[in-house]
């Protein structure tokens, strides 16, 4: 079988920012869970208010981990509430040591990691978008009106209910939808909900905090956005590993990608 052509798919800026995103993403999630542990509950209100509590991760006197979501109690001993203390033992703690940075409870360190990697994420994001605009390849990633009718056929193709994907360029319509949502909806909301937790930001831009429903509500949105971004990340990993993981990894390291049968050629 003749080898398909290899194309230069990812610019150096894309590759560098991709791995910066990856590193910052892991650091932000794990340091964010560390910060969450200091007040392991989320309220849909401005000030803390148990009457508006959406999520809490607690423990009982008998060391049972209890996770309460919208008033529904779940026993989560060993994973949430009463779990790994990061130092080889167990303790009353919302998220376990293997999910947090640092692994043991240390809010000051968690905040240092979080606020540093937030800058790495923001700077990498700006670099990615600016280079993408200058090179013109950001256009290929953004969902356009013409892509919308192709979303369903593409989903049917992924579900193996359709033999061929609809014709598309470098990115298929579902990829465009996902990346456009992450880059231009979820990421800005993540930054704004994070900033809304800052008393000094609130003093200067209080209407933004109000839009999110107040400081504690912004903390809840920040957490929900994290879950959505983890959803994107898991989907990304599944797709990358099931569609030629070596080829994808090589292209994100060297830039060169071997075209598949259904890849668009509009590189």
């Amino acid at each position: 079988m003749a080898q398909r052509p290899t194309v230069y798919r990812h610019s150096i800026a894309t590759r560098l920012t991709h791995w910066a995103f990856f590193l910052a993403f892991l650091a932000l999630i794990s340091s964010g869970l560390q910060i969450f542990n200091a007040a392991p509950y989320l309220d849909a209100s401005d000030k803390s208010n148990p009457a508006h509590r959406v999520l809490s991760i607690d423990s009982t006197d008998s060391h049972q981990g209890i996770t309460t979501i919208f008033g529904h109690r779940f026993t989560t001993t060993g994973f949430l509430g009463y779990t790994d203390d990061g130092m080889g033992g167990k303790t009353d703690r919302a998220f376990p040591g293997w999910l947090t940075i640092p692994s043991y409870q240390a809010l000051a360190d968690g905040r240092r990691w979080h606020l540093f990697f937030a800058w790495i994420m923001v700077i990498s994001g700006l670099l990615y978008v600016i280079v993408g605009i200058l090179r013109g390849d950001l256009r290929e990633l953004i969902l356009k009106r013409a892509d919308i009718p192709k979303l369903l056929p593409m989903q049917l193709y992924y579900l193996r209910l359709r033999k061929d994907p609809p014709p598309h360029g470098k990115y298929n319509p579902l990829q465009k939808l996902a990346y456009t949502t992450v880059l231009f909806v979820l990421a800005p909301l993540m930054i704004l909900t994070g900033l809304a937790l800052s008393p000094s930001f609130d003093a200067q831009f209080h209407p933004i905090t109000v839009v999110f429903g107040g400081r504690q509500f912004a903390r809840l949105w920040h957490f929900v956005l994290m879950l959505l971004l983890i959803g994107f990340f898991v989907t990304h990993l599944v797709l990358v590993t099931t569609t030629g993981v070596i080829n994808h990894l090589r292209s994100m390291i060297t830039g060169w990608y071997r075209l598949g049968a259904h890849d668009g050629t509009g590189i």
């Binding site: 910060i35 969450f36 200091a38 007040a39 401005d46 000030k47 803390s48 130092m87 080889g88 640092p102 692994s103 043991y104 240390a106 809010l107 000051a108 360190d109 905040r111 240092r112 990691w113 606020l115 540093f116 937030a118 800058w119 900033l195 937790l197 800052s198 008393p199 000094s200 930001f201 609130d202 003093a203 200067q204 831009f205 209080h206 400081r215 504690q216 903390r219």
Partner: protein, 245 residues
């Protein structure tokens, strides 16, 4: 700048057991890199704007108590039993006119009331009604000298290890119109658990700046030689001096 223990030494030892990466992540150069974000945040957000003021109906009448235990020493007990009549706020250091102000003197100054949200570094928030003297009025009485840069708040409470609580603001932050030396919380003289007889209240920064049980205000050119040199008890434990975020 002298770098602080980020981590209690016992925890460091535990992590060092995890090998080279753990050691590398705990070394001070790596922390200097992480800490660089503080300067960016300070530059980005600074101390601008006024904290939102709330309505009476928003007040948490049972305002949450947090921080160190209420002082238990005999000096504080004597003060409290005498209804704080023996209390004097000392204002000294790099000032032209050191002050020794009794509560009655502070109460005779113009008082400001603001209902603002207290945002804890842990993540929770509570709304209280704070009445007190504007910090800048007290500083104006003492007249900071030209070399003055920071205001240190020495407090009566101590950590479980016996270290005294203290905090600091720069002069710009200290002159913020909502920065108060609070006499009353929620329409009553502030009680022992909330920092009686006098606490600081800085609504544009996280709660650890709002020191309770303030005994002395020291105006200085630099806080490098005060305790561990980071400008506050929690700052000495690794928290940011700039607590606006």
């Amino acid at each position: 700048m002298k770098r602080r223990l980020f981590i209690a030494s016992s925890l460091s030892a535990a992590l060092a057991g995890c090998g080279a990466i753990g050691t590398r992540l705990n070394d001070s150069r790596f922390h200097d890199v992480l800490n660089s974000a503080e300067a960016l945040n300070h530059a980005l957000l600074g101390t601008r704007g006024l904290a939102k003021e709330y309505a009476e109906s928003d007040i948490d009448w049972n305002f949450r108590v947090n921080g160190f235990d209420t002082p238990m020493d005999s000096a504080y007990a004597t003060l409290m039993n005498g209804n704080y009549r023996a209390y004097h706020l000392i204002v000294d250091g790099a000032v032209e006119r050191p002050q020794r102000l009794a509560l009655a003197q502070l109460r005779s100054m113009p008082l400001q009331t603001n209902i603002t949200r207290h945002d804890c570094v842990e993540g929770w928030s509570a709304i209280g009604k704070f009445r007190g003297v504007q910090l800048r009025d007290v500083l104006d009485l003492a007249q900071p000298r030209t070399q003055a840069r920071y205001v240190i708040f020495h407090c009566m409470d101590r950590s479980p290890e016996g270290l005294p609580y203290y905090e600091s603001l720069n002069l710009h932050q200290a002159r913020h119109p909502q920065a108060l030396l609070v006499l009353d919380l929620n329409d009553r003289p502030i009680d022992a658990d909330h920092g009686a007889p006098l606490r600081l209240r800085v609504p544009t920064q996280l709660g650890y700046k709002s020191a309770k049980w303030v005994a002395r205000i020291e105006v200085v050119a630099s806080f490098a030689t005060i305790f561990s040199g980071n400008g506050g008890y929690w700052e000495d434990q690794g928290y940011e001096w700039y607590a606006g975020i």
